[in-house]
């Protein structure tokens, strides 16, 4: 018997495979595919949109390219201010951002945190997920930092957060930072003492992995 990679399966992976086979079947039984498809109207709208896009290949794509170049220029330094964006494509870009980097942070206490970063006109949209960050008392909170080596080590805060009562964390933060100059990402535990400087109590850290 082999595992998904084609390697011989040991007892643990065989047990995992069996667990996946059984529970996977239970899940599909519990959540059956409704089989509902789109309405004829929805299909027609999609086909029209696809056909229209096919007929105008250059204009929209050039606008996105121009927007992307402008974004790179705007994001070349830290703390770049707002940029004027107009037009439908630009509004889309503003709304969603463009996937740009990921980071997997780990800590000595077993904390594991996943970050996803997207470039947007207002900076970087950072989605942070973890189910292993310890719940903190009201007097404390966590803060996400991007460290850069420009002008010496600089800590750029991306915002504060805390897990819910069950220890789950899913937050979306915004950071005025260029990930290409980031040397490390860290999460610190902070006291509610009004001091904006990092406490130094690092609970998780890791490097940025730029996409593409």
């Amino acid at each position: 018997m082999t595992n998904e990679d084609g390697n011989p399966a040991d007892d643990t992976s065989r047990a995992d495979a069996e667990l996946e086979r059984l529970l996977g079947a239970e899940l599909r039984r519990a959540f059956p595919d409704s089989g509902d498809g789109p309405t004829p109207g929805q299909v027609a709208v999609l086909r029209d949109h696809v056909s229209a896009q096919r007929r105008r290949p250059a204009r929209g794509r050039w606008r996105l390219l121009v927007a992307a170049v402008a974004l790179l220029v705007a994001g070349a330094g830290l703390g770049v201010g707002a940029t004027a964006w107009t037009g439908g494509d630009d509004e889309d870009l503003l709304a969603r951002g463009s996937a740009e980097f990921t980071a997997e942070l780990t800590g000595a206490t077993g904390a594991e945190v996943d970050l996803e970063g997207a470039a947007a006109p207002e900076g970087r949209i950072v989605t942070l997920r973890s189910d292993t960050l310890p719940v903190v008392p009201y007097e404390q909170f966590y803060e996400l930092w991007f460290l850069t080596d420009e002008d010496g080590e600089t800590w750029v805060s991306a915002g504060t957060f805390h897990p819910d009562e069950e220890g789950n964390t899913v937050v979306v933060l915004h950071a005025a930072v260029d990930p290409s100059v980031v040397t490390d990402v860290r999460i610190t535990r902070e006291p509610r003492d009004g001091n904006p400087a990092p406490s130094g109590d690092v609970v998780a850290s890791g490097p940025v992995d730029l996409l593409g």
Partner: protein, 194 residues
């Protein structure tokens, strides 16, 4: 999966991907029809209740058309790319609504009753319904992350590589997350049944 229109049932996923990238309306319709219900359910499970999951899927497809130049051939089905876009649409709505998580009571589940097959007796129907209910209750108790990886891997039946594409994680990380979530689900099912 259902294949429709002028796309032959023997059409390979690679051919479909090529035609999809070339904005062939038939290829888009094929993917749209075969993935629609699962995409809607994925969005429904994660979106704030004020947002229509059908609208989210429409938004996803609209963005996909506009961003077709971003679709690369990475050896995974087109659906993985669509789930990735839909995931961003959902996250944006969650962010806009100011809600980080959504809790949906099991009784409010949009999935409807599970129809038992006709080859079972009344007692087996009851037992099967109880088991299905236990799995649903246990699933709802999982974290959002566990639910997401299990939904994509087990319910939507994406491959490890495809889930990795959606979640933008490594294959190993997806495998670990999948098995950890399965183990937690098993524990929760046992608690629910106890």
């Amino acid at each position: 999966m259902r294949i429709i229109g002028s796309v032959d049932s023997g059409t390979s996923e690679r051919d479909l991907l090529v035609r999809f990238r070339e904005l062939d309306p038939d290829a888009w319709e094929t993917v749209y029809r075969r993935s629609y219900s699962r995409l809607v359910e994925y969005a429904r499970r994660r979106l704030p209740s004020t947002y229509d999951p059908h609208d989210a899927v429409s938004e996803c497809l609209t963005r996909a058309v506009d961003r077709i130049g971003d679709l690369a051939d990475q050896g995974v089905r087109v659906e993985a790319w669509l789930y990735g876009i839909l995931r961003l649409v959902v996250l944006e709505q969650i962010r806009r609504s100011g809600r980080q998580e959504r809790e949906r009571p099991v009784a409010d589940s949009p999935l409807g009753l599970v129809e038992a097959t006709n080859d079972r007796g009344p007692l087996e129907h009851v037992l099967r319904d109880e088991q299905v209910s236990s799995v649903r209750v246990a699933f709802e108790r999982l974290s959002i992350d566990d639910q997401e990886v299990l939904w994509l891997r087990q319910v939507a039946e994406l491959s490890v590589a495809e889930v990795a594409e959606v979640l933008r994680k490594g294959h190993g990380a997806v495998r670990q997350a999948n098995f950890r979530a399965l183990a937690r689900l098993r524990t929760l099912i046992e608690e629910v049944d106890a």
